[in-house]
Symmetry: C2
Subunit: 349 residues, 2 copies
């Protein structure tokens, strides 16, 4: 920082009072006569004075700034969540700064981010963090207010707000099963955040609940990208015994599946039902519109900020882990399995 142009000292000098009086006049607390207060504020305005937040912080004050660390800002879900956070922090008169870590948080980044832990922020929210165990331990040791969002890789003493991926996935697949599907495939994403694993667990549970065997090749590895979904789907459709439905660990991969289906002249949803996850905006743009699972991002943002503010204000934390149920958004990419007579149809007939 180059020397600050205009400081409290100068304001005080111009107003003809001590620095302390000026400080009191500006911050508003402590006893100052209305007279001097006005005088000081006039001087401040004339000089174009702006308080130095750093100095204030060094004395133990708050910055009224919350930091949020995300591992991939270009992800539509993350972006939507950050928007929800931005709105939410305003209710507490706080500001939000976003840091895009782009990948794994390790010791090296931690070194560079020491400032993240000390002073610049009143509190920190980690969204879908991918971090080494050392990093997490450092966070746990730190006394700064911290909230983790959608962190499910291992247990931690830090407060966690998350969407319930397991039950959402189970519901999605159970929905397909109730529409007569028996040959249901799953396309995984990368394992980094643990989200995909939870969704796979839900898939397997639903299949087990219905006493359906899972063929080895029904579980395909993807990378959360549209391209990877397209390739995985092509592999699935190449087999003799094609699945009649695919549950994808996210929407992008499901959209990739649509592309693959179109290329192979497989009709969606008549011949192939598709369910994605996340309800990104593209899900309602593609045709047929994509059926998908949606986390209640605004509620989750609210919970995360609430919990963080409690810690910032020194109030006791409430719950260690809160989990929110997802909502199923039924659109056009799912239909009863071909040749299936559902109850509704029976009634009609």
């Amino acid at each position: 920082m180059k020397k600050q142009s205009v400081t409290l000292v100068q304001v005080a000098a111009k107003a003809g009072v001590s620095v302390m009086t000026a400080s009191r006049a500006m911050s508003g607390d402590g006893y100052v006569s209305e007279d001097t207060k006005a005088k000081v504020q006039a001087a401040a305005k004339a000089l174009g004075y702006a308080p130095n937040a750093l100095a204030r912080v060094m004395k133990g004050g708050r910055t009224n700034v919350i930091g949020v660390v995300v591992n991939d800002l270009s992800s539509v879900v993350v972006n939507a969540f950050v928007s929800a956070l931005t709105e939410e922090v305003r209710k507490y008169e706080m500001d939000l700064f976003i840091y895009n870590s782009v990948g794994q948080l390790d010791e090296q980044t931690q070194r560079r981010h020491s400032q993240l832990l000390h002073g610049l922020w009143d509190g920190l929210i980690y969204v879908l963090p991918r971090m080494t165990d050392e990093y997490l331990e450092a966070l746990e040791r730190s006394e700064s207010p911290i909230v983790l969002v959608n962190f499910c890789r291992r247990e931690t003493t830090l407060p966690v707000v998350q969407g319930d991926n397991f039950n959402a996935a189970r519901d999605a697949v159970a929905g397909l099963i109730s529409q007569g599907h028996k040959r249901i495939a799953f396309i995984k994403g990368t394992h980094w955040t643990g989200q995909s694993a939870e969704r796979e667990r839900g898939y397997r549970q639903a299949m087990a609940d219905a006493h359906l065997q899972i063929d080895d090749h029904w579980v395909q590895q993807g990378t959360f990208s549209e391209q990877s979904g397209q390739e995985a789907c092509a592999r699935l459709l190449a087999h003799d015994a094609r699945p009649t439905a695919i549950f994808c660990a996210n929407d992008e991969m499901a959209i990739g599946c649509m592309n693959a289906a179109r290329e192979l002249n497989v009709q969606v949803p008549e011949e192939l039902s598709l369910i994605g996850f996340d309800d990104v905006s593209a899900a309602s743009i593609v045709r047929p519109q994509l059926t998908t699972m949606r986390h209640p991002l605004p509620l989750m943002a609210q919970a995360a900020v609430q919990e963080l503010m409690r810690r910032i204000l020194g109030q006791p934390g409430k719950r260690q882990r809160v989990e929110f149920p997802a909502e199923m958004v039924v659109r056009e990419s799912t239909a009863p399995a071909a040749g299936t007579v559902t109850k509704r149809r029976t009634r009609k007939a």
Copy 2:
């Protein structure tokens, strides 16, 4: 800031040296014997010492952090640009923090953001800023390194990096005209950032260049949203003399046009050509895939960071305003006007 747990003083004590020696050992400059250096660093590691960036800054150091202020992070273009910036700043070993201003920057926000100008950041990038004149003037007076991106509302002494909206729009419309279109409509976006106005200027120029009259109702007001594009298109298609092509101020509105066309059973591109602007990811997801104009975001990010770093390092600024030409991305939503015999077709026939 609660008192920092472990400071240089403690490290120095543990290593049995003075604070100053410890400081030198950690930062690496100044003369320190290898011996003491190792001793100090060992002590630092053992204690889990992390330097306090704030204190360092207060003494005149750099934070190695660049701030970027955007007015709408949920915008796909802004998001893509921020990603490009994130990558770019890494080349300079800097970190990037993002602030989502969500709307107009005025005096009130300025008050709260004094910290933006002093100390926390080595430099600031404003992307597509919407700000009052007072705010801009404060920025111009400030001595902090600042770069504006895509700011075209009025002249300024600050360095500006921008995409050439005018020529891009002219090229887009000229392209339609060369395909035989004569009845070409334009859907504007909101006027806030001045982008839409530039694109409209390019549209009008191209029409004038080709001596084509613009019907009053061909220029429709939208809000950059898909919904608004759909409505505007419905209005355009309701007229007797329908346009054969629509140039939209952004992709979302063009996608809205597709929806309107589908509802009214108008074939795209056979009966209606569509061009958007920005090349957002949805542009290649919709069918038919959208023809659009693309700003060279990575190049622009590079230029912005370069210029900012020059100022941070105290080197002379290079150019005051740099403008980058856009690229036309031809996909499936444009075709020769119905009944037009283009040269290529003539040759075929």
